[in-house]
């Protein structure tokens, strides 16, 4: 392979570096009307009335629509492939506007106006009267008898409960001499914080409705818009231009359905919904806060005799991706540190908070924090070095998961741990830091993870691709898989150039924009799947394209198609490498041949019936200023085995981004709500502590490239994995530095103050007198 595996410059880099890349707002029709949303100011209640009189008087206001005008259609929003089995379809619990408001920020009414200011004034002028209901923010409290009920069909607010039973837990814990290592581990509500807020615009044309949206999943959004507004799915066209990041938030139908409906209410005129940052935090999606209770029973040698894990996932007000996330989190436990006797129970529970959906890692950053914290304590309990403990008890080589059929072919976990140790200079630092006894102490820690690639066998895995041979011998390619900033288009270009036999990845023109009217159907950017799944359809379509090329070349050259291949953009004779015809000449001839004209194209769909384990770990070195309750990450290294790298430089860059997200998850990020009202407290980029460039050390990414046997190009998941193990590695480093085990993210000064005070590391000056 000569094109795949190279650090090529992104295909979209030039446009992005010059500012000409068009995001949804840069394509806005100048006559688009502004839609602004009136959100509820209570956490739970019934809308008694909405008085729109004053709003309608404002100059420039075109229309005010309320929850009493919206269609009574319940629809799902999760960016999952449709399932033909009603049992597997996403929960439909959402309305365009709500008379029953279920969180502070729910959508009650909209103002459609000619300008932004009139729309904002209109929203403020609407008078809403509510009958408030009691609300609940904590999932375990929401499960109690008598708790406020959010959705009638779900008793005790339990959206779903699933379990894992393996061996005989109750019997296994009777073994004598077992050490019990137990803890509650708590992860916070956080948000994706892509720098481009979600937004979209919609208009009607020829009786159909078009929505241009900042989304990761255009084809899925088409279906949801159709469902939500009660129109045939084919009536809806979704166009996805470049987007300014998504990280899972845009793996949901957000405001596309409402936007489409608003357009239909003003005669199909173009209307725009531009989420503010404040809305993005609250009225889009968040990452599930999950609380874990882990009880591990280990023998004196550290081996795991039995393990019990309870997981309580805070779903917020609407189902969105629902139970899938905590189910994935739960499913990680029996695989990462295998144990013969396990009892796991996962609950997804509605509460009066913003709806939780997909976010980079899909349950795994939460599980990784809980699991690798508990494992660290297991190592401590028997006095074993934590890396050594992992080396002994982590998923071994040859491990196969019964459900996904994934296999750890190469002993990747241990290879990653060894490389991480070496890069951070683990042994020396552990020895050196043990001497730190003062107010400022250093520590080092690690954590491991595995990740799936794609969603098979839980859901459909399909990839479609279309290739057109251009007259200059280049190829135009359309994929169902979307570019959301991660570099997908570049990787696809490299793979296609390789599969066809073109000279350069620049000879493949990926149509970056998906338009559901013309782009082959695909599912979109999620589950770290795209490079893996697109590989199958790219290779298959390239083969089809080459067959057509060879067939035409055969007519022109009389050479056997079996003795042809494409090399550097030419059709060559395999046996002696002689150039028979260039692709350009062939394409020109085929196109303009008056007797036998052909535009050479190929299109195909590949159904993927595979999944693949991706592996890795993080090593973090911290300095803890105990009196100031502050942690500084001094060094951090991620090691990944994601198979072969298609583009090493982009892979590394993607890992940096995930590490940054993990540092924020570990140390500073948390979306806060007033316990008395459910009101969001810090839904802006000043008060929500996303890491700045001054909050990291240099980030180091390293790779072990064990080719994935099931993958066309030997590659597998890398999009989400970098965000998984950073927070627990930092947590374990703090533990190493101070001897204080932390149980709650983020490990910000507030939580450190409480933990250090409890541990006696901080003196109370009042007590000292």
């Amino acid at each position: 392979m000569s094109i795949v595996g190279k650090s090529e410059i992104r295909v979209d880099a030039y446009d992005k570096a010059t500012g000409r890349t068009k995001y949804y707002e840069d394509r806005m029709p100048p006559d688009a009307l502004y839609v602004r949303i009136r959100h509820s100011e209570i956490a739970h209640g019934i809308v008694r009335s909405v008085d729109t009189t004053e709003a309608e008087k404002i100059k420039g206001v075109v229309k005010v629509l309320t929850c009493f005008d919206a269609p009574e259609i319940d629809f799902p929003t999760a960016g999952h492939p449709w399932s033909m089995d009603p049992e597997h379809q996403d929960v439909a619990d959402r309305r365009l506007l709500n008379t029953h408001v279920r969180y502070y920020g729910d959508d009650v009414a909209v103002v459609i106006a000619e300008d932004e200011v009139a729309a904002m004034q209109g929203v403020r002028a609407i008078k809403v009267e509510y009958d408030p209901l009691p609300f609940v923010l904590d999932p375990q409290k929401a499960m109690e008898d008598g708790a406020p009920q959010l959705h009638e069909a779900y008793e005790h607010n339990i959206l779903k409960h699933t379990s894992i039973r393996k061996g005989d837990y109750e019997n296994a814990i009777r073994e004598s001499g077992l050490i019990r290592v137990e803890g509650w581990y708590e992860t916070p509500t956080v948000q994706h914080c892509h720098i481009e807020n979600h937004g979209c615009f919609a208009y009607e044309e020829n009786g159909r409705i078009t929505v241009v949206s900042s989304t990761q999943i255009p084809h899925i959004v088409r279906r949801v818009v159709g469902q939500a507004i009660g129109r045939p799915w084919a009536d809806v066209q979704i166009i996805k231009p470049y987007i300014g990041g998504g990280f899972g938030n845009k793996q949901d139908a957000l405001y596309e359905p409402l936007c489409a409906w608003c357009s239909t209410q003003v005669g199909g005129r173009p209307v725009r919904i531009d989420c503010s940052r404040e809305e993005t935090f609250v009225s889009n999606r968040v990452r599930h806060a999950i609380r874990f209770h882990i009880t591990s029973w280990i023998r004196k040698d550290g081996s795991m005799a039995a393990r019990k894990v309870d997981l309580f996932s805070n779903q917020g007000a609407y189902a969105s991706h629902g139970h899938s996330i905590v189910a994935k989190a739960m499913g990680s436990f029996p695989q990462l540190y295998p144990c013969d006797n396990m009892e796991c129970d996962a609950y997804t529970v509605y509460t009066n908070l913003p709806a939780a959906g997909a976010m980079r890692g899909y349950g795994m950053p939460q599980a990784s924090f809980a699991n690798d914290s508990n494992i660290e304590e297991c190592a401590h309990a028997i006095g074993m070095d934590p890396v050594e403990y992992r080396n002994r008890y982590i998923m071994p080589q040859g491990f196969e998961d019964g459900f996904s059929k994934n296999v750890n072919y190469y002993d990747s976990h241990r290879e990653c741990l060894e490389k991480g140790k070496e890069l951070i200079d683990y042994d020396r630092k552990v020895r050196e830091f043990a001497n730190d006894k003062g107010p400022i102490r250093r520590g080092i820690g690690c954590a491991s993870f595995w990740y799936n690639t794609a969603v098979w066998p839980i859901a459909l895995e399909t990839s479609s691709n279309r290739m057109l041979l251009n007259l200059d011998g280049t190829v135009t390619m359309q994929c169902g898989e979307t570019e959301i900033g991660q570099g997908a288009d570049t990787a696809f270009s490299q793979m296609a150039a390789e599969a066809i036999g073109l000279k350069s990845y620049r000879d493949v023109h990926v149509v970056s924009c998906q338009d559901t009217d013309v782009t082959p159907t695909g599912l979109g950017a999620y589950a770290s799947r795209q490079t893996y799944v697109a590989g199958f359809s790219i290779r298959q379509t390239a083969e089809l394209l080459k067959q057509k090329i060879f067939a035409y070349a055969n007519k022109l050259t009389r050479q056997s198609v079996d003795n042809m291949e494409v090399r550097d953009g030419n059709v060559v004779r395999k046996s002696d490498g002689k150039v028979l015809i260039s692709l350009s000449e062939l394409a020109m001839t085929a196109q303009y041949n008056q007797q036998d004209s052909e535009h050479i194209t190929a299109e195909s769909t590949f159904t993927i019936k595979n999944n693949a384990y991706s592996f890795g770990c993080t090593f973090a070195e911290v300095e803890v200023d105990i009196p100031m309750c502050k942690v500084t990450v001094k060094n951090i290294v991620n090691v990944h085995d994601c198979g072969n790298l298609i583009n090493p430089a982009l892979a590394e860059a993607q890992v940096h981004g995930g590490m940054s997200m993990a540092i924020g998850y570990g140390l500073s990020e948390q979306l806060l709500f007033d316990p008395k009202t459910g009101r969001p407290l810090n839904n802006n980029l000043l008060d929500y502590k996303l890491s700045t460039v001054l909050d990291h050390p240099d980030l180091e990414a390293a790779f072990i490239e064990n080719p994935e046997p099931t993958s066309v190009f030997g590659t597998k998941a890398l999009g989400e994995p970098p965000a998984c193990s950073g927070a627990p590695a930092i947590r374990n480093a703090i533990y190493n530095a101070t001897g204080v085990a932390l149980y709650k993210l983020p490990m910000n000064p507030h939580n450190l103050f409480a933990a250090f005070t409890e541990a006696g590391l901080i003196r109370d000056p009042w007590q000292e007198g």
Binding site: D12, Y23, G244, G245, S660, V693
Partner: protein, 163 residues
């Protein structure tokens, strides 16, 4: 009653005159009147840096800068860096080469701050560069390659080795 003001300013080297609505931000003016779409909106309250532009040589978040204040000012956006035949400036090229671009939404703002840094002609340490770039948020890159791109361009301009 709407209120308007006639402003004259220089935008990307060109003297222009516009009647503006006094309610407009500089972001509104640059995007809507001049179609300078490199000026991005990420928060509209000066927290993310996506709308950053140079005004008389200093960086400002144009979202919290009144268009009315642009009168008499020299304003530069990312569009000003690209040559007449599409040639990239050194700092843009460095962003390409260092893989400092992902979704691209924070990129224009970062590059314009880099321009301000580079135009001082000074040598900064990596930590100083971090501070100078700290008015921009990025969720894709972890800032690592952005720092690399700025640092390398700074060193190249100062005739220093970059490795």
């Amino acid at each position: 009653m709407s209120q308007y003001k006639l402003i004259r300013c220089t935008i990307n080297g060109k003297e222009v005159e516009r009647m503006i609505d006094v309610r407009a931000s500089l972001t509104d003016l640059l995007r809507n009147d001049f179609h300078l779409t490199s000026v991005k909106k990420g928060c509209e309250v000066g927290e993310c840096g996506a709308c950053n532009v140079l005004i008389d040589g200093e960086c400002y978040n144009s979202c919290i800068y009144l268009a009315a204040w642009a009168d008499g000012k020299n304003i530069r956006t990312l569009e000003s860096l690209t040559g007449p035949n599409g040639e990239l400036s050194d700092i843009q090229q460095a962003f390409l080469e260092e893989a400092a671009i992902q979704c691209g939404f924070c990129t224009p703002g970062f590059i314009m701050t880099a321009v301000e840094i580079l135009e001082t002609g000074k040598l900064y340490t990596r930590d100083e560069l971090r501070k100078l770039l700290s008015g921009h948020l990025c969720r894709c890159t972890g800032y690592e390659n952005i720092l690399n791109a700025v640092e390398k361009t700074m060193k190249r301009r100062l005739g220093m080795p970059t490795e």
